[in-house]
């Protein structure tokens, strides 16, 4: 058994492998790893495309002609235009590639803003409780009940007055997505805060007389936000869908200001009935692929964070050491005890019952 003398110090994992995502990647096995890797690859390609769009795209997103003249509208895929041209005479491939830039910009602004607002509100609301909490919960439930796309439409009109240049359009989209997401972040962070508030280490800080702000920021905040990478990925995909939805119903970004997939789909709507498939297929596939990639990452992270869902590889007999201590295996992101502890529960007396915690 463990004693002060005979315990060998477990090797501290390097900083690199403790980074989120990297850590999970190492932790994953089998199909789960496959899904995570696939997601990471797609997401990586998406991010790289966004960064290098100016280099990758054969033309500008608002380019209508080159030296040899106008592209022409609705040209089928050809050597010059691999994906054809749109009804407006843009190169589809270029707009799909540039669209990644817009998408990522909106995702980052939207998710950062909503995380910030949602975290602050959720933390304060969950930690202090009381009437403020109740009001915020009812308000956020109400906002949540509102179809998000409609809210986004109204918000985008309110925010930018319906202007759709790059900054106005992107910001309007991002902020309206933010407003839609705040309730979600709020719920998650609040629930985590309420849970963590009842954890022994928070109670212990309270017993010590630590101030509320110290408890909130030193103990609750960092632990409550551990699931954020997860929410981030899940909401990033929703941000893309909402952006595309906005573009589709006609509140998108002006085509000479930025390339945006939903907008292009909207424009391609009338092409489909004439059998012109290339103007809609590629931007649509771009949306599906990116959402697929990000969601794969998000779901894999979710699985890995949940010991019930995490898969482990089978091992060959006789490998490894015999478990000798009750050290909880797993890294910092593991939500609960995993491994052997799940099987060999300690002799705990869960003194739940009537010994309630307020």
């Amino acid at each position: 058994m463990t004693s002060t003398s005979d315990l060998t110090v477990p090797r501290k994992p390097g900083l690199f492998s403790r980074l989120p995502v990297i850590h999970q990647l190492r932790q994953s096995v089998g199909l789960q790893r496959g899904m995570l890797v696939a997601g990471l690859v797609i997401t990586g390609v998406f991010i790289l495309t966004a960064i290098f769009a100016p280099l990758l795209a054969p033309y500008g997103f608002s380019q209508l002609r080159d030296e040899s003249g106008r592209f022409g509208s609705q040209q089928p895929p050809s050597g010059e235009h691999l994906f054809g041209t749109t009804v407006g005479g843009y190169d589809v491939l270029s707009r799909v590639l540039w669209g990644a830039q817009t998408a990522i910009f909106v995702i980052v602004v939207a998710v950062v803003l909503s995380i910030f607002a949602g975290v602050v509100l959720g933390l304060v609301s969950g930690y202090f409780g009381g009437w403020l909490d109740r009001v915020l919960v009812v308000v956020s439930d109400a906002v949540y009940a509102f179809p998000s796309l409609l809210l986004a439409i109204v918000m985008s009109i309110v925010i930018s007055g319906g202007r759709s240049d790059l900054i106005g359009g992107v910001l309007a989209a991002a902020i309206s997505i933010t407003v839609v997401f705040i309730p979600q972040y709020f719920r998650v962070i609040r629930a985590e805060t309420v849970r963590i508030k009842a954890e022994a280490y928070v109670e212990s800080a309270r017993v010590l007389g630590a101030s509320n702000s110290r408890i909130m920021f030193r103990h609750v905040l960092r632990n409550a936000t551990r699931t954020l990478p997860l929410i981030f990925t899940l909401n990033a995909s929703e941000a893309i869908l909402t952006l595309a939805g906005l573009g589709f119903v006609g509140f998108g970004i002006e085509p000479t200001a930025a390339a945006e997939w939903g907008y292009d789909l909207n424009k391609a709507l009338s092409d489909v009935t004439s059998g012109i498939w290339w103007t809609s297929l590629f931007p649509g596939l771009a949306i599906v692929l990116v959402v697929l990639g990000i969601t794969l990452v998000g779901e894999s992270l979710n699985d890995l964070a949940d010991p019930r869902l995490r898969g482990r590889r089978r091992v060959a007999q006789a490998s490894g050491l015999v478990a000798e201590t009750s050290v909880v295996p797993g890294g910092t992101l593991v939500a609960g005890p995993g491994g052997l502890d799940g099987l060999e529960s300690n002799a705990t007396h869960p003194d739940t019952g009537l010994e309630t915690r307020p």
Partner: protein, 545 residues
């Protein structure tokens, strides 16, 4: 709310029963005509993406509603098939009996479809209530010159006008402010709900409405009692299906689910359908125009800018006029559903010119970059000129974005302009444009009545709706003069003169004129007859063989 509405539904359904039964019968007898003396072919189904706001003429001022009103309400003045000019419709004569008195004599013994008498009292009622209700979205503002209406006897109506000899007033009587309504069915001081109108069968146009499923399906039946200018309907039963998505409309007309698709298929669809031998595409002149408006205060070198200079400002406008390639826009963006417009009054209307064709570009309608460069150089304008160009993406159809992207490209290709393009959602756009927020911006116009005046007075007369600070006294005088010139030829001359003058000033740069394009099944005839410069699509002209 449930019971009230189901009751209404029930009543509706009951009134629909007759028509639909007839319909079913008609269908069974394979297009055979069903009694009566109407020259009826098989029922025709028309599809449209127009939207009705309300049937009540006092409450709507939009295309979709007006096109329904045109079928079912009588007018004092109307345009016959194939002409833009108005003639008495349910009246026998209409004339100025005094400078400010316009007297209309109704045909005797007119009836509403519900049996009520259609008398001058109904006419007085109709115009009085327009002015009285002055609904938020109503067309009452068109009756700006009407002081009062009197009905001295059953067939005589006397309009007292504010300004004398108003040659426009007969046109107004054919405009959205002109439908006559049944005083026994309509409320005098409030808008009447659509379902009440249908239930009361308060119609006296070429058709009556037999079933009314708001913005989804309207059933029409020919009105045997109609005795007006346009004659009896070719087809007894017409159904109009309302679409929200043009592509669905296209699919349905292509598949023969509907017989006629009118307003508004996308350019792509129309081009596609032109190559489809199951349908025919019919084009007609359109009254809709598209143009760029310049704000004389805030455009480059405008009156309120730091480097104000009227000459340079004019040069900028002229350069734009020299550079835009209307043909290219019409081809690439609109695939021929819009045609180049070289004046302020669209082709087809009496007095229309092509004033800009000779003045700008190569004289043949094509752009001329050298000329633009010369104009700017002569005025001492340093290039590239920075131009903020605004357009609206949702009010003038889905082509706007592509249209303006192309305009930007055309202007910039010359190296003379650097264009910053911006689009704004409609409500904000409509506000901003009148508050000098936009130096140059897109607008469009659909006429209230098919007269050149409707393309001049609201635009270029001082205090018009453009609010772009254009003011040319000469033009003002001419516009006022043509309005009171009774002689058609003299008036046409004046109208041409106005166009030439404005073309030199370039208050706006006209770009395109919308064509009316209808797509029909091979067996549908008569569309050509109604796609005329009256811009009123009349179902009565259609027949299915």
């Amino acid at each position: 709310m449930t019971s009230a509405s189901t009751n209404r539904k029930r009543a509706l359904a009951a009134s629909a029963a007759f028509a639909a039964a007839a319909l079913v019968l008609a269908g069974c007898s394979a297009g055979g005509s069903t009694g009566g003396d109407t020259k009826a072919g098989g029922p025709i189904t028309i599809g449209t993406t127009d939207k009705v706001t309300t049937l009540d003429p006092a409450g709507s001022y939009d295309n979709g509603s007006f096109s329904v009103q045109n079928q079912v309400f009588p007018f004092l003045m109307n345009t016959p098939y194939g002409s833009p000019d108005v003639e008495p419709d349910i009246a026998t004569k209409a004339e100025f009996t005094a400078p400010t008195e316009y007297t209309v004599t109704l045909k005797p013994g007119l009836k509403w479809a519900n049996g009520n008498d259609l008398t001058s009292s109904d006419v007085k009622f109709s115009f009085d209530r327009q002015l009285k209700i002055a609904a938020d979205n109503g067309p009452s503002s068109l009756l700006y010159n009407l002081a009062s209406t009197a009905a001295p006897d059953d067939t005589t109506v006397v309009f007292t006008l504010k300004a004398a000899n108003d040659q426009i007033f007969p046109q107004i009587l054919s405009s959205p402010a002109g439908p006559i309504v049944d005083e026994e069915s309509f409320s005098a001081d409030a808008l009447t709900p659509d379902d009440d109108i249908v239930e009361a069968n308060a119609f006296a146009g070429q058709y009556v409405i037999t079933s009314y499923d708001f913005n989804n399906l309207i059933g029409y039946k020919a009105n045997k009692d109609y005795e007006g200018l346009l004659g009896a309907a070719e087809t007894d039963v017409v159904r109009v299906k309302y679409y929200t998505e043009a592509s669905n409309l296209k699919l349905d007309v292509q598949e023969g689910n509907i017989d006629v698709a009118f307003r508004s298929l996308s350019a792509t669809d129309i081009e596609d359908l032109r190559g489809n031998d199951k349908v025919k595409v019919v084009d007609g002149p359109g009254g809709e125009i598209r143009y760029i408006t310049f704000n004389f205060d805030t455009q480059p070198f405008g009156a309120k800018t730091a480097d104000a200079d009227p000459a340079k400002a004019l040069a900028v406008r002229q350069a734009v006029a020299n550079l835009v390639d209307r043909e290219e826009i019409a081809d690439q963006v609109y695939k021929g559903t819009y045609t180049p417009l070289f004046s302020f009054v669209p082709e087809g209307l009496t007095g229309a010119t092509e004033s800009l064709k000779g003045l700008y570009g190569d004289g043949e309608g094509a752009p001329d970059a050298d000329k633009a460069k010369a104009v700017l150089e002569d005025a001492g304008v340093t290039t590239p000129v920075e131009l903020n160009l605004q357009y609206n993406p949702d009010h003038y159809g889905p082509g706007s974005a592509d249209e303006y992207a192309l305009v930007k490209d055309q202007l910039e290709a010359s190296g003379l302009f650097s264009v910053k393009l911006q689009s704004t959602e409609w409500v904000q756009y409509a506000k901003d444009r009148t508050t000098d927020a936009y130096p140059a911006y897109q607008l469009g116009w659909f006429p209230d009545y098919s007269d050149a005046d409707n393309y001049l007075t609201p635009f270029f007369l001082e205090g018009g709706f453009l609010k772009n600070h254009y003011n040319n006294q000469e033009v003002n005088d001419l516009i006022l003069k043509q309005g009171v010139t009774a002689d058609p030829e003299e008036r046409a001359k004046l109208i041409e003169e106005i166009q030439d003058k404005v073309a030199a000033d370039l208050s706006t740069v006209p770009l395109l004129q919308g064509a009316q394009v209808a797509v029909t099944g091979k067996d549908v005839a008569g569309v050509e007859d109604t796609l005329d410069a009256s811009f009123k699509f009349r179902y009565a002209a259609l027949s299915k063989g």
